[in-house]
């Protein structure tokens, strides 16, 4: 559907980059929102799967943000004459990408899963300040990036021939993320079960080898 959409009167065929750039950009912030909710789940409700959901979403968020940045850059070169400018929208999305990478790194740097979950949950919630900055960066500062044109007061400014394929792509990207997220959460559950079984097996191996006192077995 995106391939069959007509060319833009100003941008020509390069407008087709929109069909991957914009859904990826929506998802990059949506996934961060999911992670922030999961972090609340970890810190406030202490749901046992909340940190698995947070952990599973981070690499996917980084992936979609990467797609957003690269396609935006490839769109910027022919349209703006540059791959990259340090303007508010681009910089704030780059900060989001680095936040995702930082969260993944933090998960991996703390051995105790409980501690890692709390630390990343706190950092995730601190990073939420970036979301309104991304959203309103195009209104608050002078920027090359255009302001919102799909969800805005007074209706969309995109022609329906271009808008429909965009919405279909956005739904497709979102469904892909939800599917991958569920699969990644299942992977986390499997990983925990393996860790538990390995510990039990190690403890049993120890008890067979050393025949510990009841205190030690606990």
């Amino acid at each position: 559907m995106a391939f069959n959409a007509p060319a833009d009167y100003q941008q020509g065929e390069t407008v087709k980059i929109m069909y991957i750039h914009v859904p990826a950009a929506w998802l990059s912030t949506f996934i961060y929102g999911v992670m922030a909710l999961a972090s609340l789940g970890t810190l406030v409700w202490r749901h046992p799967l909340a940190d698995a959901a947070q952990k599973a979403a981070a690499p996917l968020g980084a992936g979609f943000t990467f797609v957003c940045l690269v396609t935006g850059s490839l769109w910027g070169k022919p349209m703006w004459g540059t791959y990259w400018v340090w303007d508010a929208r681009l910089t704030s999305v780059l900060v989001l990408f680095i936040l995702y990478l930082g969260l993944i790194a933090l998960w991996r740097s703390i051995d105790d899963p409980g501690k890692a979950a709390r630390a990343t949950a706190i950092l995730t919630l601190v990073g939420v300040v970036n979301l309104p900055i991304i959203k309103f960066s195009v209104d608050w500062w002078n920027t090359l990036h255009q302001p919102a044109s799909v969800f805005r007061m007074g209706g969309s400014t995109i022609a329906p021939e271009l808008l429909w394929p965009l919405l279909v792509m956005a739904i497709a990207f979102t469904l892909l993320f939800l599917c991958l997220h569920l699969m990644a959460i299942r992977n986390e559950i499997l990983r925990r079960r393996i860790a538990r079984l390995t510990m039990i097996a190690a403890a049993e191996g120890d008890s067979l080898a050393r025949a510990p006192t009841p205190e030690m077995a606990r």
């Binding site: 065929e13 390069t14 980059i17 070169k77 699969m183 992977n187 499997l190």
Partner: protein, 50 residues
């Protein structure tokens, strides 16, 4: 078809996006396969001990 201006940028953008998406799908899927085979091996060895 080939006289579209900036065709290279469009193809590159779709190419990068396809690679990234396929990469994510493959990473999650391969992770699942390796985890489930590990789990199977663990459960088998535990069953064998009893």
């Amino acid at each position: 078809m080939l006289d579209i201006p900036h065709l290279g940028y469009i193809v590159a953008a779709y190419g990068v996006a396809a690679l990234a998406l396929i990469g994510m799908i493959a990473a999650v899927w391969l992770d699942y396969r390796s985890l489930s085979s590990q789990l199977e091996a663990l459960e088998k060895s535990r069953g064998g001990n009893r």
